[in-house]
Symmetry: C2
Amino acid sequence: MRISAKSEYGVRAMVRLARQFGDGPIPLSQVAAREKISLDFLEQLMLLLRRQGLVHSARGIHGGYLLALPPSTISVGDVMRAVEGPMVNMPCLDRGEGDDPCCTMGIHVAGCATRDVWALLQEKITQTLDGVTLADLCQGQPLLPLHQPALLRELSLLAQ
Amino acid sequence: MRISAKSEYGVRAMVRLARQFGDGPIPLSQVAAREKISLDFLEQLMLLLRRQGLVHSARGIHGGYLLALPPSTISVGDVMRAVEGPMVNMPCLDRGEGDDPCCTMGIHVAGCATRDVWALLQEKITQTLDGVTLADLCQGQPLLPLHQPALLRELSLLAQ
DNA sequence: ACTAAACACGACTAAATCAGTGGGGATTCT
DNA sequence: AGAATCCCCACTGATTTAGTCGTGTTTAGT
Ligand code: SF4
Ligand code: SF4
C-alpha cells in the first residue's frame, strides 16, 4: 500500500498550480524546480492530467499549464485517478459478480469472503481522497483534527 | 495503491484458520491447497504472523498453525501490519515534525502541505482495516451495505 | 526568417520490488 | 527410524517504478 511517486508528484504539482490559479499558464520548468521533481517525469504526469481535462496547456514561449477548474472543485482523488488509474488495484473489484473468475481462487468472485474487505477499503479510500480538494491544501490550517475519532468528527461536521 | 499478495494471502489464510478456530493446529499444506496459495510463500507469511503473536505453531507430525486469539479480536489491520509492515508506506509519516528532512523536498516535513493528505489517508485506512475482524469475515452476511453513505451507516451502528 | 522556450509523445533503461523457489535444518508423533 | 510438519534464509525471474532521452511541434519575440 505505498503511495507512488506519480501520485505524490501529481498532487504536489497540482497544489502548486492551484496556488497560482488565475495567473495564466505556469511553465513546468518552474514547478519542477520549486518542487524538486524531474522535469521529464513531470511532463508525463501533466500530459495525463491534461487528457483527463483537469488542466489546460498552452504551448510556445509563454506557455505552460493551468488548472482547468477552480481549486475547490478538483479533488486529490481526481488527480490520483488521472495519473495512476484506479485508486485501489484489486482486479476482482472491477468485475461484476457474474463475470469470469479472475483470481488465484479460480472461483466465482461471489464465493470469496475477503473480497468484501477490499471493497470496503476501496470505498473508504475513495471517499477520503475525493473529500479533499486542492483548495483545502492551499490554506495553511490543518486538514484534520488528529487523534479524534472519526465518528465524533463527522458528527461535529454534521452539526454545523 | 495496490494490495499485495502478501496481504491478500495473509488475510485469506487467517480467515481459513478462524473458521476452524478450536479444532487444534491446522497444517499449512491444507490451507495452501484450499486457498490455492504456494505453500512455500505461505510459510513465510505465517512465520511473520507468529512473530507478531497472532498465531501459535505446533511442530511435528500433527502440527500446524492456530489462531492465538479468538477471531473477533484479530483485525484485518493486525494481519496486514504483520505481513507487510506499515499500512501506508510514506516515509515522512513515520517521522516527527522535528526530524531530519526525509524526502525529495529536502525541507522540514512541517513545511509540506500535501503531507496532511497522506496522514489523513493513513488514519482512514487504519480505522477501516482495524474495524473489520476475522470473525466478521467468517459470517456469510455482507460486510457493508454498499451504496450507502458512510455516515448513515455509522449512525445506524451507533443506534444499535 | 530565425531562435529560444515551452509542450507532445514515444522509446528506452537502471533500479527496486514482488512473488515465488529451493534447500537445508529442527521438532514431534507413530 | 521415518514421515510430516514447522523454521529460516538465500536466491531468482518477472514486473513495476521512476525516471531519461530523442525528436518533433507550437508560439513569442527580434
Ligand atoms: S481470492 Fe477473493 S479477494 Fe482475492 S482476487 Fe479472488 S475474489 Fe478477489
Ligand atoms: S514532499 Fe511532503 S508528502 Fe512528500 S515525502 Fe516530503 S513531506 Fe512527505
